[in-house]
Subunit: 320 residues, 2 copies
């Protein structure tokens, strides 16, 4: 039984259920000037699904709760819901119910149920494990940085089509244009790595999704597992995409800084025995006895891995 009754009714398999909730709030998680309503709907769904991906779970069903300001029309709500529906189709995870309420600022809260025979926890990392990266780091932050640098007044209309996102500077080379497009796509339409997460189950010992930046989420993994997580700078650099280096140059910043501090890529960080590393995972470090997340430079020196965004401390990222 889906939308329309007091609650949704589901028949589920007996395997453990994995359950998450995620809220995306206007002015905190997104600016409407830089995202279409469909983007907002799709990315909020993928953000919630990313938590299931990090548990090695298959999404089964979703509920959505929208808080809608007076200024938004019913058609606007439909545009947003279309983005949610598109994400739900991509992830084969139907939206079976929800809730609609007025409020002063747009908010999209998504709760997802998933199934996993052996859920991957944050607490399973052991000294000796390799540290694996799945997906891209830093590109979403680069897309956000590009928007902030080229559209600082935030007047971008939601009806503007992706074609107009082409950088205005006519001097960009084709590879630079491709990098900008990739970065904007990473920011606007992140993808939860559900398939990779399921591929990790049974191979990895621990996993977390990188929603708040590598530094913040590697530290959480270290903390929950009671270990030290060491990212090797040379290995991390090798794992970054060419588009990220191009974007770093265009934004006059460092690719590693974007990768370590930038959030919302929804990459996965996992640990496991080297011999069990799946092909889609790139080794970027090691798990050692101790605590905290550190960066080991090319000379072997350990330096703090800093940056990123901790929602629990309720700070806003400055770029917003």
């Amino acid at each position: 039984v889906g939308i329309g009754d007091d609650a949704a009714v589901l028949r589920v398999e007996k395997r453990p259920l994995v359950w998450t909730i995620d809220a995306q709030v206007e002015g905190v998680h997104f600016r409407r000037a830089w995202l279409s309503l469909a983007d907002i709907g799709a990315r909020s769904f993928h953000a919630a699904a990313s938590d299931l991906a990090a548990m090695g779970a298959r999404p089964v069903a979703a509920l959505s709760s929208l808080v809608v300001p007076e200024a938004m029309s019913a058609r606007d709500v439909v545009r947003l819901a279309r983005g949610q529906a598109m994400a739900a189709r991509e992830l084969s995870c139907p939206i079976v119910g929800g809730n609609l309420s007025r409020g002063g600022e747009l908010g999209v809260t998504t709760t997802l149920l998933g199934a996993a025979s052996t859920p991957l926890l944050r607490s399973g990392a052991r000294p000796g494990d390799e540290l694996w990266l799945i997906g891209h780091l830093g590109l979403a932050a680069a897309g956000l940085g590009w928007l902030a640098a080229h559209d600082a007044d935030g007047r971008r209309d939601r009806r503007v089509t992706p074609a107009t996102d082409r950088p205005r500077a006519p001097s960009l080379a084709p590879a630079e244009r491709r990098a900008v497009r990739a970065a904007l796509a990473a920011f606007r339409r992140p993808h939860a790595l559900v398939r990779a997460g399921r591929g990790l189950a049974g191979r990895a010992r621990a996993a977390i999704d990188v929603s708040d930046g590598l530094a913040a989420d590697a530290a959480r993994l270290a903390d929950e597992s009671g270990v030290r997580v060491v990212v090797e700078r040379a290995a991390l650099r090798r794992a970054l995409s060419p588009e990220l280096f191009t974007m770093a140059r265009l934004l006059e910043t460092d690719a590693l800084e974007l990768a370590v501090s930038g959030g919302e890529d929804y990459a996965l960080l996992a640990t496991g025995e080297a011999s069990r590393r799946p092909r889609f995972a790139r080794p970027i470090g090691r798990v050692e006895p101790g605590r905290n997340a550190l960066l080991r430079d090319e000379q072997g020196a350990l330096i703090p891995l800093v940056g990123g965004f901790d929602h629990f401390r309720l700070k806003r990222r400055s770029a917003r």
Copy 2:
């Protein structure tokens, strides 16, 4: 696995799961001037649980997503969470995870999973059924009305204890004081009728919780079942509490008006064969062929049952 990982992990029985989400937003669903933070936490939890009660389900676990304005301290968040925890204990439904985010206005979104061997739907009412009321109608609206009339500037501090809620007018009789206290309690600390809902399962054919007022929710039941729902005025009047009549007199309004239009009592409305009516349910009408929700007066004339609050149409209730 509970709070602290990317998602919660649950082992559930095989029976159908019932799943709901509910959002309570400052300025729309509540005013902080009239509720303590613990009230806001507790009532948001019961509001969500009421959807499960209406399905005849037993709550199993909850996730909570809080949107917290900058002006709220960590201690304020703890106060609110204590109200949620109290409700969770009352309903034997642990909060196993959640999400915390900044935002411009306080928002509490709760998602609950429940179990029901035979979920009660809104669509099961059949002509010939009796219409049953479980719980009280109108008292929460009377409590809200009392606050609006006696504290219109909304300056009530959240630290004010219930003792100060005693009406200031010294001329109130003891029965009037009791009625005011009952109305304020109904408004501030509603209780989801989970036990009654489970008692309805297997006896009732359809059920809905009365969150937006009898008129609005009876119309939804009629609509979903493709029937006419007729509330008999004399029977409804007999089902109302003495406190409601006292409050109606104090507020210079009509008890029936409060009962028909007032929301947030979280009573249950159900239909079923008269012979199967549980002792805790009071008959207040009948299900007939046709459509819409109507009121039959003491002379047998049918008049529209109007009032209540339709969130989907995104109107604010004037009393807020």
